[in-house]
């Protein structure tokens, strides 16, 4: 993959893309020092073989492992603008979608840095972001190949789905139950993997009462494990859920928050994992 990049644009050529704020982001030459304010950008860079361009990370980012030795520039929600300026990046990447995300962007731009804002709330946006990052780092071709590979795998999984589509519930947090709604990337992951999100509310995150879970009575119950839900409580230990079908049939699973809830290259892995769970459900031995 690295060779593909080297075959790309010659150094010194100007690169430009339009970011998701509708602005033209122009660099005189492909970016050489990049700071991402959201972890998945680092994963994208690593997949493109460009991990060495990363000069810093936010406190919680751990992927790829090579960035652990890089300095931290604060947290994802509150990056430290001074630390960023001091590292003199030629490109800063920020995740769009939240209005607060634009505050550091404005601050950094006023001080002469180039910032690109990309949305990644679903697979089309993820692919488009990957391609544009490829352009900005001078390996457009590698990025396109990468995206094509991922699209192909998604297509393969999509076409292999058969039978009844299970109704899936995704628990973001419990206690104080929080579920993934229709606008969450988790919903798209479910539908690609051959299921449907049983929570019909058109939000990313939805607070639900236990009673509503009983009403929905999902076929598969997923609970994420990660900072939002540090200790997933096993379903059998929840008194209110004792009549759920997914509990009776053992169709409840713990999945990784980083893989499922954070849009990025790993979202494909989430589809892979969930598709296996869906197949398991479809082939379960019925009592």
């Amino acid at each position: 993959m690295l060779e593909l990049c080297l075959l790309g644009l010659p150094a010194g050529a100007e690169v430009a893309v339009t970011d998701d704020q509708g602005r033209m982001v122009r660099l005189h030459q492909p970016a050489g020092r990049i700071i991402a304010l959201y972890g998945a950008f680092n994963e994208i860079l690593a997949d493109l073989g460009q991990a060495e361009l990363i000069v810093a990370r936010t406190a919680a980012d751990e992927l790829p492992a090579s960035i652990l030795c890089k300095p931290s520039i604060g947290t994802h929600l509150r990056p430290n603008a001074e630390l960023i300026l001091a590292l003199r990046p030629d490109l800063v990447l920020q995740l769009g979608g939240r209005s607060e995300a634009m505050e550091p962007v404005r601050f950094l731009e006023e001080r002469g840095l180039t910032v690109a804002v990309f949305d990644m709330e679903n697979f089309p946006q993820l692919f488009s972001t990957m391609e544009r990052i490829g352009t900005l780092t001078g390996c457009e071709h590698a990025a396109k190949e990468q995206v094509a590979t991922m699209r192909a795998e998604l297509e393969r999984i999509r076409s292999s789905r058969t039978g009844t589509r299970p109704r899936i519930f995704f628990e973001v947090r419990y206690p104080n139950l929080l579920a993934a709604g229709q606008e969450s990337i988790v919903s798209e992951i479910m539908s690609l993997a051959g299921g449907i999100n049983c929570v019909q509310i058109p939000n990313k995150l939805v607070r639900l009462g236990e009673e509503e879970v009983l009403r929905l009575d999902p076929d598969i119950y997923l609970m994420q494990h990660g900072p939002m839900n540090p200790i997933p409580v096993p379903l059998p230990e929840r008194p209110f859920f004792r009549t759920l079908s997914s509990l009776r049939e053992g169709q409840f699973f713990v999945v990784d928050q980083g893989v499922f809830s954070r849009p990025g290259p790993r979202s494909l892995e989430a589809v892979r994992q969930l598709s296996r769970i869906v197949h398991g459900w479809q082939n379960r031995s019925r009592p």
Partner: protein, 323 residues
């Protein structure tokens, strides 16, 4: 009023996102006495709805009574569980537990941690007040403000150091009965019952304290001891409420004022009616919190009480000025 409370508890069982007929609800209730299989309706009516309705009622009672006591004790109409830093203590401890991922085996960790925090904050306030020269109204309010501001800063610190836990902390601070039930009723009772008994037992002394400490001593009230007993009683009530529900504002402030306007200031009836009124208010606020949005989505009940409590409080203040 007691009848209204019972009726409220019964009627509230009919609200919820899972469609159930009146017959199914009655059957589920009856199954309590003659047993029966674990049906969906039973889980919903008995465990989820009834548990939650009772818990919100008891929490409302505890908050209203402790608010009434703090107002009487500090002779400050704006006093409530927040003034003495008790709620902040509970919130701070809960935030710490959420951020550090503490767990105790076999127990619901958060309520116990919150309870400890509530008491720690209260004793901090008492100690500070004592250091400043005694449990006078000014010292207590001042110490309360100092402690709650300090704890508020610690919460902010925890939040900014732990972005991943922010949503859980914020949710907890907004207060909710989501997913709570009988197990939490059991958890709060050991604090609710003695707290209520202590406060009602010293209701007459609370009245006399309105004369001021000096005159209260002159008619025979052991002022220092009574103040501490009432503080501990009201503190236990606050802690009981906060540890099962997080922080819920306005109930402790609005209900005692309203009851005092209707019933006069005499403590014993005022406390009893505050208990009933607070219970009914919070019960219906929670029904609203869990049914007002579509598809079973929930609001934190603290949002409901604050949303309705604040304008309502303005109304009371305006009326109070006219009369």
């Amino acid at each position: 009023m007691a009848a209204a409370a019972l009726l409220s508890i019964y009627v509230a069982l009919f609200f919820g996102s899972y469609p159930l007929t009146a017959g199914a609800i009655h059957e589920a209730l009856a199954s309590w006495f003659h047993g029966g299989a674990d049906t969906q309706a039973m889980v919903i009516v008995r465990d989820i709805r009834l548990g939650r309705v009772l818990l919100s009622f008891l929490t409302g009672s505890a908050l209203a009574v402790s608010g009434a006591v703090f107002q009487g004790l500090l002779r400050n109409p704006l006093a409530d569980p927040f003034t003495l830093g008790i709620s902040s203590g509970a919130a701070c401890a809960a935030a710490l537990a959420l951020a550090l991922g503490w767990t105790l085996p076999g127990l619901s960790t958060l309520p116990l941690v919150a309870l400890t925090g509530a008491f720690a904050a209260m004793f901090m306030v008492l100690a500070l007040s004592r250091l400043a020269g005694g449990f006078s109204r000014e010292n207590l309010v001042l110490a309360g403000i100092v402690v709650s501001t300090f704890l508020g800063a610690i919460i902010a610190l925890i939040k900014s150091l732990n972005e991943e836990s922010v949503s859980a902390i914020v949710f907890w601070i907004l207060g909710s009965f989501q997913g709570r039930g009988f197990e939490h009723v059991q958890l709060m009772l050991p604090y609710l019952v003695p707290g209520m008994a202590l406060v009602l037992g010293f209701a007459r002394e609370l009245d006399i304290l309105a004369l001021g400490a000096e005159q209260a001593v002159q008619v025979g009230v052991a002022v220092a001891r009574v103040r501490i007993a009432l503080l501990i009683g009201a503190g236990m009530l606050t802690a009981a409420a906060v540890c099962v529900s997080g922080i819920i504002g306005f109930v402790g402030l609005v209900v005692p004022h309203l009851v005092r306007m209707l019933m006069g200031p005499e403590s014993r009836p005022m406390l009893l009616f505050s208990a009933l009124g607070g219970g009914v208010l919070l019960l219906w606020s929670d029904v609203m919190a869990r049914t007002i949005l579509h598809h079973g989505a929930e609001l934190p009940v603290g949002v409901v009480t604050a949303l309705f409590g604040a304008p309502f409080f303005c109304l009371i203040m305006a009326r109070g000025r006219r009369t």
